[in-house]
């Protein structure tokens, strides 16, 4: 019962932030004007702004937040390690590399879902590599070291590809791919990301029982009828699809998958299964809040989301390393 209370609280928070996100913008419309234009208006400038500029941005913030929160919670549950997070272990940068390769080679234009699928492929390579390197227990040291190596390599190739691009703007966009932003995204991005993300969400949501069983140890989980190799496969596919699609449209936004599960874990009694839906909603709330903040702090400058997330997330990450340093040695 406590869980349903938590979930409805989080859902309410997401709804409030979603509404606020729709109302924040340089054009400064009144609340009534905004809402009536959004719901009823036809053809005027306010309607255009509300429906084609602000609405897709807010929807994307929710989608990206759900994807990152869910992926972080699932990875941490599977590896039984609170430091596992898609941004930190290189999944996001690999997804960004996949997306950039598809965009620069022109493959992204070949069919509607080519962009998110390419990012998915990039992400899944890194998740599989990590699981092989970190092993079934996901020891902190190997996980973080492997993550650093994968991030560095993917980041280097990303820079290389963008430097080789004939487009003069491409090089400056290394910042976008590394730090993420939702500015000036449109419904085109919502429609290409949503199908792939939905697939990822369904796969990750189905992990709950398996992750709960895994808290008792691998052998106990297997004796309860959990097929671990199948669980692992669904995790890889789910994380790759969610993070891949999110990164393809919004760039690599770090720390959401670290901070959100960490804050919510005490409320769900440390059950990884229950943490999944809570982190999904929490992630949505966090990205919405961050995206509102970047628009309020520096309205004219397109401050990257990753900047804000790292300011909040990196100190927490240091705190977690401090807490878990004994088991690392």
């Amino acid at each position: 019962m406590r869980l349903s209370l938590l979930l409805s609280g989080l859902a309410a928070l997401v709804v409030v932030l979603f509404g606020l996100s729709l109302l924040v913008g340089p054009a400064g419309f009144g609340i009534g004007q905004s809402l009536s234009a959004l719901l009823g208006g036809e053809g005027e400038a306010v309607t255009l702004v509300m429906r084609e500029i602000r609405l897709p941005r807010s929807i994307l913030a929710v989608m990206v937040g759900v994807s990152l929160g869910l992926s972080g919670a699932a990875l941490q549950g599977f590896l039984r390690n609170p430091l596992a997070e898609p941004g930190l272990i290189g999944v996001s940068s690999s997804a960004a590399l996949g997306a950039v390769l598809a965009l620069q080679t022109g493959f992204a234009a070949s069919f509607a879902l080519a962009l998110p699928v390419s990012a998915l492929v990039g992400a899944s390579v890194s998740v599989m590599l990590l699981l092989v390197l970190a092993g079934p227990r996901g020891g902190s040291l190997t996980l973080i070291l492997a993550g650093i190596a994968i991030s560095a390599l993917a980041g280097a190739f990303l820079s290389l590809v963008l430097n080789l691009s004939p487009n003069p703007f491409a090089v400056s966009e290394i910042v976008f791919w590394m730090l993420g932003s939702l500015s000036d995204r449109s419904f085109d991005h919502v429609t290409i990301a949503l199908p792939v993300m939905l697939l990822g969400w369904v796969l990750l949501a189905s992990l709950g029982r398996g992750l709960d069983a895994l808290t008792l140890g691998q052998d106990a989980a297997e004796s309860m009828g959990i097929n671990l190799s199948q669980l692992r496969l669904r995790l890889v596919a789910g994380v790759a699809a969610s993070v891949g699609a999110a990164t393809a449209v919004a760039g690599a936004i770090g720390f959401v998958g670290l901070v959100v599960p960490h804050i919510l874990r005490p409320f769900v009694g440390a059950r990884p299964g229950a943490l999944l839906p809570a982190s999904a909603l929490g992630g949505a709330a966090m990205v919405l809040a961050a995206d509102i903040a970047v628009r309020l702090v520096l309205p004219d400058r397109d401050l990257k989301l990753g900047v804000l997330m790292a300011i909040v997330g990196a100190p927490l990450f240091l705190h977690l390393i401090y807490k878990t340093r004994r088991q690392m040695i």
């Binding site: 255009l48 702004v49 004939p166 703007f169 449109s186 397109d302």
Partner: protein, 281 residues
């Protein structure tokens, strides 16, 4: 100290250009190997130089997306603006922009090469100044004077009263131009009203797409896209921008808009054609 002398010479030449033009040209110090490392000085040098006098232009001068004289430029060897490369061309005059790489400029000066840095143009009245200035540097005063006179005549013929449609510039990354720019002058000379005036934006910078949508200009002036992909250019295909253009008119500011040279006349005549067609509707 070495860097002071050539730049002070430029100032003296620029200020006293008319005086220099009147004096008998001393053929003895006419530069024979001129290298240009800036897109705008490329244009001026190609227009004014004597045959064989200009030995190299910048590599981007051959890029049709940004260089209006790319066909002419293809006949010259290209340089990439590096100090070593330029020095090896043994130039006796290098034409650069004021924002050319300062490391390259100071190194060339240290090596004893004369480098003239030509200021950018922020108004149409400065186009003839630059023609005369570069003409004096190249010792091609008569050519420059003829070009300047032709420019003034054509400019007067293309000037329209500022009562036309409302227009806005919208470029990759949502970059929009303010009122203190050459493009603003080209636009208003063709008789368009620039929305930067209404919004009170004198400097250029990022303009949120929703502010542009609310301003609802009759014409959105944008740019062609480069090959390869960039997120910066994605905004030019944003449905909200496409709706604005569909409701009004789109126009591309091509390479003729980039530099304050007589090439701006082509930009201006394209605009007056656009205005005439819009007013005929």
């Amino acid at each position: 100290m070495a860097s002071v002398r050539p730049s002070s010479r430029v100032i003296r030449l620029g200020a006293a250009a008319a005086f220099v033009a009147a004096a008998a040209p001393s053929w003895a110090d006419m530069p024979e190997r001129v290298v240009s490392i800036n897109l705008c000085t490329d244009q001026l040098a190609m227009m004014l130089a004597a045959p064989g006098q200009l030995i190299s232009v910048s590599d981007i001068a051959t890029d049709p997306l940004i260089s209006p004289m790319h066909m002419v430029a293809a006949a010259y060897p290209a340089n990439f603006g590096g100090a070593e490369e330029i020095y090896l061309l043994r130039p006796d005059l290098v034409l650069a922009g004021v924002y050319s790489d300062p490391a390259v400029v100071s190194m060339l000066r240290r090596l004893g090469v004369e480098v003239a840095q030509i200021d950018i143009v922020s108004g149409l009245d400065q186009v003839t100044d630059r023609l005369v200035e570069v003409g004096a540097l190249l010792h091609r005063e008569d050519e420059a004077a003829a070009r300047a006179e032709a420019f003034e005549t054509d400019l007067a013929a293309l000037t329209r009263p500022e009562t036309g449609p409302r227009a806005a510039f919208y470029y990759p990354n949502g970059y929009s131009l303010g009122t203190g720019t050459l493009s603003h002058e080209i636009l208003t000379t063709a008789g368009f009203r620039h929305i930067a005036d209404e919004l009170g934006r004198d400097s250029s910078g990022r303009l949120a797409l929703e502010l542009l949508a609310v301003a609802a200009p009759d014409v959105v002036i944008s740019t062609g896209t480069y090959p390869g992909n960039s997120r910066s250019e994605d905004i030019l295909h944003h449905p909200a921008l496409e709706a604005l253009i569909a409701a009004g008119q789109g126009h591309i500011s091509g390479p003729d808009w980039v530099c304050g040279t007589p090439q701006v006349l082509t930009a201006l005549s394209d605009l007056t054609t656009l205005r005439d067609s819009m007013e005929a509707e």
